[in-house]
């Protein structure tokens, strides 16, 4: 019986095959990322939807407040 040839898998190769979409996402420029919408991702859309009731400006202020508290913590 001929030995089957064992090929090197692509799983650990740095030259993994990417789908068009993966390649597009990976090569997005910072400006594109800033404009990106995430409707295609169910989880992310859900997170964004659930928090939209609290104005973004307020949430960002709260985040800064938390950072300051964290800075002061021991």
């Amino acid at each position: 019986m001929p030995k089957s040839k064992v090929r090197k898998g692509t799983n650990r190769s740095p030259q993994r095959k990417l789908t068009k979409e993966q390649r597009r996402l990976l090569l997005m420029e910072p400006e594109e990322i800033e404009r990106a919408t995430f409707e295609d991702d169910e989880t992310i859309s859900r997170i964004l939807k659930l928090t939209e009731g609290i104005p973004l400006e307020l949430r960002r202020r709260w985040a800064e407040e938390w950072r300051e508290e964290h800075r002061q913590s021991k």
Binding site: R12, P14, E34, T43, R46, I47, L50, T51, E69, H70
Partner: protein
């Protein structure tokens, strides 16, 4: 990841962090978050909504005082009616905020805080080793425990808290576990590009 990431996605909707979450999902990358970081983000967010709810309660108490004057009763009643509506809205926000954190958690591998990790973190904190702060020590020891056995060809720890984590001892600890510690989300994308050969 650590608390800043959860807050950056769930509270601040920071585009670059949301994009990183999407990338990890698209590429099947394991996205790891210590349980303590998730709990901290949840508690801080809920505490802020509770603060608004408590303020409403105080307002009601003032209104009761004001309503002692007969001519104010109907005005106070209508103000209280509005407060009830505001409270209902805030309660809804609180439920939604918790659900947002839960949804985020479901997209991640959450590493539990065990008594062993807690003990190590407590000792680290007590003897004043970096990252110095109690919660950061808990995050650090949780990650160290998770990384005991190398799990992936590329492992990165992204923290936006350079003030607490950017110490040679911490870098060395991650290096020993074959993980990179990064402070800029764009550096994570750069590492992905390098790894996938599209740099």
């Amino acid at each position: 990841m650590e608390t800043n990431f959860v807050i950056g996605v769930v509270w601040e909707s920071r585009q670059i962090l949301v994009q990183l979450l999407r990338l990890c999902k698209q590429f099947g990358v394991t996205f790891v978050i210590p349980e303590i970081a998730l709990a901290e983000a949840r508690a801080s967010l809920v505490a802020r909504i509770d603060r608004q709810l408590n303020a409403l309660q105080h307002l009601r108490q003032w209104l009761n005082d004001i309503a002692r004057a007969a001519e104010m009763v109907s005005l106070v009643e209508s103000a209280k009616q509005s407060l009830n509506e505001i409270e209902a809205e805030l309660q809804k926000r609180k439920i939604n905020a918790q659900e947002a954190i839960d949804t985020f958690a479901k997209a991640c591998t959450v590493i539990s805080l065990t008594p062993q990790i807690w003990t190590k973190a407590y000792v680290r904190w007590k003897v004043n080793l970096p990252p110095f702060k109690e919660l950061d020590c808990l995050v650090f020891e949780t990650l160290m425990d998770f990384l005991k056995k190398p799990k992936a060809p590329l492992t990165m720890f992204l923290t936006m808290d350079a003030e607490d984590f950017h110490h040679p001892e911490i870098h060395e600890a991650f290096r020993q576990r074959k993980a990179l510690m990064l402070f800029d989300p764009y550096d994570v994308i750069a590492q992905f590009r390098k790894f996938y050969g599209v740099a």
